[in-house]
Amino acid sequence: MTTAAPAPVQADWLKELLFDRGYLARIKGEAIKVYLVIVQACGGRPDRSVRLSLAQIQQRTRLSCPTVIESLQRLERLGLVVSTTREPGRAKTYYVPNPPAA
C-alpha cells in the first residue's frame, strides 16, 4: 500500500535555515521575533519583499524601537533580511532572501 508523500509545508525552508544552518543560535532572542514577523508578512515564503514600518514591527513584537532597529541591523548583517528602500519618513521594504549555505 502506497501512501502519498506529505506536501512540503512552507516552513521547510525556515526550519532548514534556522536549525540545519544554525542561524537560530546566531540570532539574538529579540531578532528572532522580528524575523518571524517579517517572514510571516512575506507569507512564509523566501525571496519576497514586504513593506513594513517600524511601528508595525513594534506593535507585532511589542519590542521597543531601538531594539527593533538593532534587531533589524543584526538580521541585515547576517543576510537574513535586506532593506531595499531608504526613503526618509517612509516605511522600509524588507526583502527576505533564502541565504545560501555558509
Binding site: 506529505p6 506536501a7 509545508v9 512552507q10 516552513a11 521547510d12 525556515l14 526550519k15 534556522l18 536549525f19 537560530l24 543560535a25 546566531r26 540570532i27 539574538k28 532572542g29 529579540e30 531578532a31 528572532i32 521575533k33 518571524l36 514577523v37 517572514v39 510571516q40 508578512a41 512575506c42 507569507g43 512564509g44 515564503r45 525571496d47 519576497r48 519583499s49 514586504v50 513593506r51 507585532r60 513584537t61 511589542r62 543576510g79 535586506v82 531595499t84 521594504t93 526583502y95 532572501p97 541565504p99 545560501p100
Partner: protein, 342 residues
C-alpha cells in the same frame, strides 16, 4: 514534528503570547517544536541540547521554559531519573480585533454656498461713501449679499453649459465658476437701472453685450466705489460696457485666487468621493470574502491558502541559483517586478 513547527508560524505569531514572550522563550519554543514527536507531540530534548540549538545558556533555557509554562504554551513533565518531557500546547487564539473603521465623513457633497474663511477680502471696504444711485447696491456688499437669490430666471444667464460648481463673490451678486467665468444670478437690467442708468440705455447695452462683459464692468464699478474712487458711476458703467472694459488688475487678482480655491475644493471633493468609493468597494469585497471564509473549515482553508501560495509565479531569482549575494538577489527581484507585499 513539522506539525508543531508549522503551528509556530501560524498560531504562535498570531497569538497574544508572542508579543509578551521574550525572545529566548520563542527560541526555546522553536527548538521544542523541532524535537516534538510526530505522533504523540511530546519532545525530550535535554537542557544542553536546547541551549546548543538556541544559542542560549542553560540558565536562560530554564528561565525560558518557566516562562513558556507560565504562559500556558508548554506542558513540562519532570520525573526523577527520567528526562524531562515537553509538550507544546495550543496557543491562545488571538483576540478578535475591533474593526478599524474610520470616523464617518460628511456624506453629502461639500457645499460651496458658504464662502470659505480664507477667501479673498470683500470688495466692500468703504460702504458709506458713494452716490445715491449706488445706495441700493450696498446690500450686495453685505456679508449676506450672496444669499440674494434671483428674483426670476433672467435671460442674462449664460447660455453655455453652466458649470455645476460655483462660488459666490463676496459683496456682489455674481458667482465665479471653476473655469473662471462669471455667473450672474440677478436681473442685470434692474441692476443697471439701480446704478442710475436709464432703463432704455440699460436695455440697449444688454442687447449689445453679453452678461459676462456687463458683470466685469459692474465688478470694476463696485471695487472703485468701495475704494471711493468712482465719481460718475453710471457714466463709467455705460462707457465700460460700450468699450468692453476688462477686469481691473486688483479685481482680477482676487477673482483668480478665489477661482483657485474653488478648484482646490473641487479636486479635494473628487478625491474624497473616489476614496469613499474605493473604501466601500473594499468593504464589500472583505465582507464577501469573510462570509466565504466563515463557511470553510480550518483544514479546507489551510489547503486553499497553500494552493494559492503555490500558484504564485516563482520569482526570477528562484530560477537563477547563481545569484548568491542577497543584495543582488533583492535588486533582481525588484527589477523582475516583484512588488513588495503590504
Amino acid at each position: 514534528m513539522d506539525r508543531y513547527f508549522f503551528r509556530v508560524e501560524h498560531e504562535l505569531l498570531r497569538s497574544e503570547a508572542f508579543k509578551t514572550l521574550g525572545g529566548s522563550a520563542i527560541k526555546v519554543y522553536l527548538v521544542l517544536g523541532l524535537h516534538s514527536d510526530f505522533g504523540t507531540g511530546w519532545s525530550f530534548p535535554s537542557i544542553r541540547t536546547i541551549a546548543t540549538r538556541a544559542g542560549l545558556s542553560r540558565q536562560t533555557v530554564l528561565s525560558a521554559l518557566d516562562e513558556l509554562a507560565a504562559a500556558g504554551l508548554v506542558a513540562i513533565q519532570r520525573e526523577q531519573g527520567k528526562p524531562n518531557a515537553y509538550r507544546l500546547l495550543q496557543p491562545t487564539p488571538p483576540r478578535p480585533t475591533p474593526s478599524r473603521r474610520k470616523p464617518d465623513r460628511p456624506s453629502g457633497p461639500i457645499s460651496f454656498e458658504e464662502p470659505p474663511a480664507t477667501g479673498p477680502d470683500s470688495l466692500d471696504q468703504n460702504r458709506s461713501s458713494g452716490q445715491k444711485s449706488l445706495e441700493l447696491l450696498s446690500q450686495f456688499f453685505d456679508a449676506s449679499g450672496h444669499d440674494l437669490r434671483p428674483k426670476q430666471e433672467t435671460r442674462t444667464k449664460p447660455k453655455h453649459n453652466a458649470p455645476t460648481a460655483s462660488v459666490p463673490i463676496p459683496g456682489t451678486p455674481f458667482q465665479l465658476t471653476a473655469e473662471g467665468r462669471l455667473q450672474v444670478t440677478v436681473d442685470l437690467k434692474e441692476l443697471l437701472t439701480d446704478q442710475g442708468l436709464p432703463p432704455r440705455i440699460a436695455q440697449k447695452l444688454l442687447a449689445q453685450k453679453d452678461a459676462e462683459a456687463v458683470a466685469k464692468v459692474l465688478l470694476n464699478a463696485f471695487y472703485l466705489k468701495s475704494q471711493g474712487k468712482l465719481q460718475n458711476g453710471p457714466g463709467y458703467i455705460r462707457v465700460g460696457i460700450e468699450q468692453g472694459y476688462d477686469l481691473l488688475p486688483q479685481v482680477a487678482d482676487r477673482l483668480e485666487s478665489r477661482r483657485r480655491e474653488l478648484q482646490a475644493q473641487i479636486r479635494a471633493q473628487a478625491r474624497r468621493a473616489e476614496r469613499r468609493q474605493a473604501e466601500s468597494k473594499a468593504d464589500e469585497e472583505a465582507a464577501a470574502i469573510a462570509m466565504v471564509l466563515e463557511r470553510l473549515g480550518p483544514a479546507e482553508l489551510e489547503n486553499l491558502v497553500s494552493q494559492a501560495l503555490a500558484s504564485l509565479p516563482a520569482p526570477l531569482v528562484r530560477r537563477n541559483p547563481t545569484l548568491s549575494n542577497p543584495f543582488v538577489r533583492a535588486r533582481v527581484y525588484e527589477l523582475a517586478g516583484g512588488e513588495p507585499l503590504e
